[in-house]
Symmetry: C2
Subunit: 180 residues, 2 copies
């Protein structure tokens, strides 16, 4: 079977859990040599640049397992099956912060890796966020969320305090759109 | 063993090739529940925002296996063992384009994923790039590199023609630094 300029000789399932799926493909590369690809597939995700009327953005502080340290990130999560990008963005925002937005603007998609990992991450800008009066806070939520002036969030990306890929792209794209 | 707020019960190697390493950890989460993490470790990488005197940036067009389509990205590659970020950036630039830079500026690091994938990607801005007269082109290089006006590259990030995470972050950070 052909995949772009690659010929796939075999594809072997390696590992699967609810979040990631690993397989190994044996291929003939475009230059004619034989090789392997260990490919990781992850659920598509969404990250939300959530801004309130005071031009503050919501950031979540959480210990992240793979990088073994606390990371400062946009409100993010995986798409549920059948869910649209907009639905997932609104659900994640409400679940993690109890907020709803008055306006949603798409910021395109980021593909954090392209060669061995498949995991599109969609970016949405949520403007005019405010508390949903019907929201019941989830007491078990381990995420600490804070509001930061948007200009400070830009500085946090520029100086490396924020490193999470989709969060960096979302904040810098929103900065350009908002003229900041 | 503790890892941040997680207690690790066991860690099982799943898969390893020269580029990725997959393991499954059984853990007790911060809320006391038991669970698993499938963690993928990749080699650290470097991406170079390489700009010439005409304010054009070098972009590589290449079919990318995991996302199954062509991707437009900055000059990028993995760090060799023992290599510094600056050494890797200069080597990748020269190998892929035959160019050397007159000035290097660090743009911090992006961590494309944080929860289940560990793979820091360092960003460097290379200014005043020009052909190294001693360079011998590699005829087997499957990458097509083109020069694009830097403002056009910014538009390509904003409208989703460039989606590769580190490339988006590198271009948008350089844009802010250069006042574009």
């Amino acid at each position: 079977m052909k995949k772009g300029p690659f010929e796939i000789l075999s594809s072997t399932p390696i590992y699967k859990n609810p979040w990631i799926n690993v397989r190994e493909d044996a291929v003939i590369r475009p230059d004619g040599s034989q090789g392997i690809f260990g490919v990781v597939e992850m659920l598509p995700g969404v990250s939300v640049v959530a801004i309130n009327k005071k031009m503050e953005v919501l950031l979540a502080y959480e210990y992240k397992y793979a990088i073994e340290e606390e990371s400062i990130e946009l409100i993010s999560g995986a798409l549920d099956p059948g869910e649209s990008i907009e639905q997932a963005a609104a659900r994640e925002l409400k679940e993690e912060t109890g907020m709803v937005a008055s306006e949603w603007i798409g910021l395109e998609t980021v593909t954090p890796f392209t060669t061995v990992i498949r995991s599109p991450n969609h970016l949405m800008l949520a403007k005019g966020i405010h508390l949903d009066p019907d929201h019941v806070p989830d007491q078990n939520e381990p995420v600490t969320t804070i509001s930061v002036p948007f200009k400070e969030a830009i500085e946090m990306v520029m100086d490396g305090r924020i490193t999470h890929g989709a969060s960096c792209v979302g904040i810098l794209k929103a900065a350009r759109l908002l003229g900041l």
